[in-house]
Symmetry: C2
Subunit: 337 residues, 2 copies
DNA sequence: ATTGGCACTCTAGATAATCGAGTGCCAGGG
DNA sequence: CCCTGGCACTCGATTATCTAGAGTGCCAAT
C-alpha cells in the first residue's frame, strides 16, 4: 500500500510541519531532506497519501499538513521514543531530588515536564486507592472536637476535623488512636475500610458514640473521597504557539478537574506510554490537542498518571521521551521515601 | 480643579469603557448616561481631563480611554465597593461551606473568586509564620527513619521524612514525641523555633544523636521553609477578554511563585482592601493588569492574602466586593475549624 | 516509475479609495 | 462665564482591487 518512500515522505512532512508550523510543499521537502527524487515524484506520493487520508491541504495550492490519521501512523510506526540528553537527565535528577514532600514532588514534576517539553504538563497525585495506611493520628482540638490525620505510604496526608457528640478525654483519644493503628497500620486502604466497619464492636460502651463519629469520618476518607487530585502547569506555553481554535477552550478544559481525570483515565493499559491524537480524544474543546500519558508509581504498581498536552502538531518522540523519563524518576523517588 | 460634572464624565467614561472595551466618544456618552448637557460641553470637559492625565486618546479622532491615573481616581474617590447580590452570597456560603480541609478551602476559594469575577484569582495559603503549633507527630517508617508531621492551627500540615544516624526504638520515639508536644503545643511557630533550639540539652544521652537529627529537620520546617504557597485559577478568563499585550507574559508571571508572592506582598497594610493599577504594579509583564487584594485570616490576624487579577480595564467595584466578601467568609471558615 | 514542463489556482500582502466616528475650535446666546 | 450648535478636519477601519509567488495536477517524454 504505502512503500518505503511514501512513508519517508510522510515522516518528512510531519517533521517539517512540526518545526515550522507551515504547510509544506514538494519543493521544500526535497530541499530539506535529501530525498533523491524530483519534486514531481514527491507530488505523486503526496497525492496518494492525501487520498488515503494521512495528509490534507488547507486549501488548493498550499502545501500539505498531516491529519490526525497521519500523526497516528507516525507515532505507531515511523518514530521512536527519543531518549533524553545527558543534560536533561541530570536536570531531572537534581530538580526532582530536592523535593521534600509529596506536594513538592508533584509540583516540581509539573514544572519540570512543562519546561522539558515546552507544553502543558498534567500530573495526578498518587491514588489513595492502592496505597497503604502508614499511620492514623488523632489530635484533640477542643473538648468535643478532634483532628483526624491519615498518612499513607505514598506520602499523602488526609486530614479532617471531626465534631463529636460528647466531650472526650485524652485517655479515650489515646485508646482510640492505639486501636486504629493496631488494626490499620500497613494495610491497603481498601482492606482498611473493611476493618474499620467492624471496629465499633470492639470499643468500650463509654467510647462508642465518640468512636463511631470518628470512624464514620475515617470511613469517608477511605472510601468515598477518592476524588483524585490533578494539577497542571505550563499554560504559558500554550499562548506561545497559537492553538488554531480556541486557546480558551483548552484552558477551560484544563481547569476542570473532571475533564482532566477523564483525559488521563481514557488510555487503555495505564502502565504504558499512551498517545491520544486530536479527535481520538473525547473531550470537547481538545480536538486540536494531543496527549502523551503514562502511569507512574513505586515499583511496578501504577499509582497515578502523568501526561503532556499540546497541539496535535507536537514533537511526539521528544514528548514521549520526556514523559517516560520523568515517570521513571518520580517512581524511584516515591519508592525511596 | 475638577468640578462635579467632570468627575461624573470620568466615571461615565470608565464605566462605558469597561463594559464595551471600546474608546468612548462625547456623543455616545451623553446618550447612554443622562447628562443634561450637549456633546460639545462634554468635549470641553474631556479636553481638561485629558490635559490632567486622567484619560487619553489611542489616536486623534478616536474616543477616550481611561489612563492608570484615571482608574486610580475612580477607585479612590468615584466608586464604592459593590456589595454582592443575595444569590452570590448564598453561592459563596454553600460552595465554601462544603470544604473539608485546608487544601480544599484554598482550592474552592480560587475557583469561587475566579467564577465570581470572571478574572484570574490568586490565593495564598495561610502563613505558617503566624500560626501556632497544634501538634507534632512522629511516625516510625523504618529502623532508622521517621516521618515528622507538624500540624498548625490553621490546618496546614507539614511533613518531612528524617533519616536518623542510629536505629530508634518505639519508646524513644514516644518519649521524643511527648517532649516535643509538651514544649511546643499551642505556641506560635516563631516562638517554637526558639524552644526547639534549647531542646537537645533535655534529651537522654542515648537519644541525643537521633533527637538532634529530628530537631534539626523540625527547625528547618519552622524557620527556613517559609516559602508561602500560592495558587491561582481562572486563566481561561484571560483568554476570553484579550489582553492588549502578551497574554503569554501574564501567564508566565502567574506561573512563577516568586512573582505571585511579590504581587501579593507589595500592598501596604495587609489587612486592607488594596488596588494596584497597571504600572503601579512593579512586576514586568503585568503593566496592563490590575490587582485587587486583601488579607484574610481567622479573627483579626492576617494569615495570608487573596486577590483578583485582571486587565486594568476591569470592574473594580465588583471585584472589590467579591474579594472582600470572599475574604470574610474564608476567615470565618478558618476560625471555625 | 520518474521527470521536466506548463497551465492553473489560490492566498498573502500591498495599494488605493471611501466612510464615518470623533475631535477642536469658534461665534453666538443664556 | 459657561454652554451650545455648527463646521472643517483627522485618521483609523473597512472594502475593493491588483499582483506575486508558492504550490498544485496533469501530461508527454525518458
Amino acid at each position: 500500500m504505502l512503500d518505503d518512500r511514501k512513508l519517508a515522505v510522510l515522516r518528512a512532512i510531519i517533521e517539517d510541519y512540526v518545526s515550522t508550523t507551515e504547510p509544506v510543499g514538494s519543493k521544500t521537502l526535497v530541499d530539506r531532506h535529501n530525498l533523491d527524487v524530483s519534486p514531481a515524484t514527491i507530488r505523486n506520493d503526496m497525492a496518494v497519501l492525501e487520498e488515503q487520508g494521512y495528509i490534507a491541504q488547507p486549501h488548493t495550492s498550499a502545501g500539505r499538513i498531516p491529519t490526525d490519521k497521519g500523526y497516528r501512523l507516525f507515532v505507531d510506526r515511523l518514530s521512536a521514543v527519543k531518549p533524553l540528553s545527558q543534560a536533561e537527565r541530570r536536570a531531572i535528577e537534581t530538580f526532582l531530588g530536592g523535593a521534600y514532600d509529596l506536594d513538592d514532588v508533584v509540583t516540581r514534576t509539573v514544572r519540570l515536564l512543562a519546561q522539558l517539553t515546552r507544553q502543558v504538563a498534567v500530573v495526578q497525585y498518587p491514588s489513595l486507592r492502592i496505597s497503604c495506611v502508614r499511620h492514623v493520628e488523632l489530635v484533640p482540638l477542643g473538648p468535643a472536637r478532634v483532628l483526624l490525620v491519615l498518612i499513607t505510604d505514598t506520602g499523602r496526608v488526609e486530614q479532617r476535623g471531626v465534631d463529636l457528640p460528647d466531650s472526650i478525654s485524652d485517655d479515650s483519644i489515646a485508646h482510640l488512636r492505639a486501636l486504629l493503628n493496631a488494626c490499620m497500620d500497613g494495610r491497603p486502604l481498601a482492606d482498611a475500610a473493611g476493618v474499620v466497619a467492624e471496629l465499633p464492636a470492639r470499643l468500650d460502651a463509654s467510647d462508642r458514640p465518640n468512636g463511631a463519629a470518628v470512624l464514620s469520618v475515617l470511613l469517608e476518607s477511605l472510601v468515598e473521597r477518592h476524588e483524585e487530585k490533578v494539577v497542571f502547569g505550563g499554560a504559558a506555553n500554550l499562548a506561545a504557539r497559537d492553538f488554531s481554535k480556541g486557546l480558551q477552550d483548552v484552558l477551560e478544559a484544563l481547569e476542570e478537574q473532571v475533564v482532566l481525570m477523564r483525559l488521563l483515565g481514557e488510555s487503555g493499559d495505564p502502565a504504558l506510554l499512551t498517545v491520544r491524537i486530536g479527535a481520538e480524544n473525547a473531550v470537547e474543546g481538545l480536538h486540536d490537542a494531543s496527549i502523551v500519558s503514562t502511569g507512574y508509581g513505586a515499583g511496578d504498581q501504577v499509582l497515578a498518571k502523568l501526561a503532556v498536552l499540546g497541539p496535535t502538531r507536537m514533537d511526539y518522540p521528544g514528548a514521549m521521551g520526556a514523559v517516560r523519563a520523568v515517570a521513571r524518576y518520580v517512581g524511584q523517588i516515591l519508592a525511596e521515601s
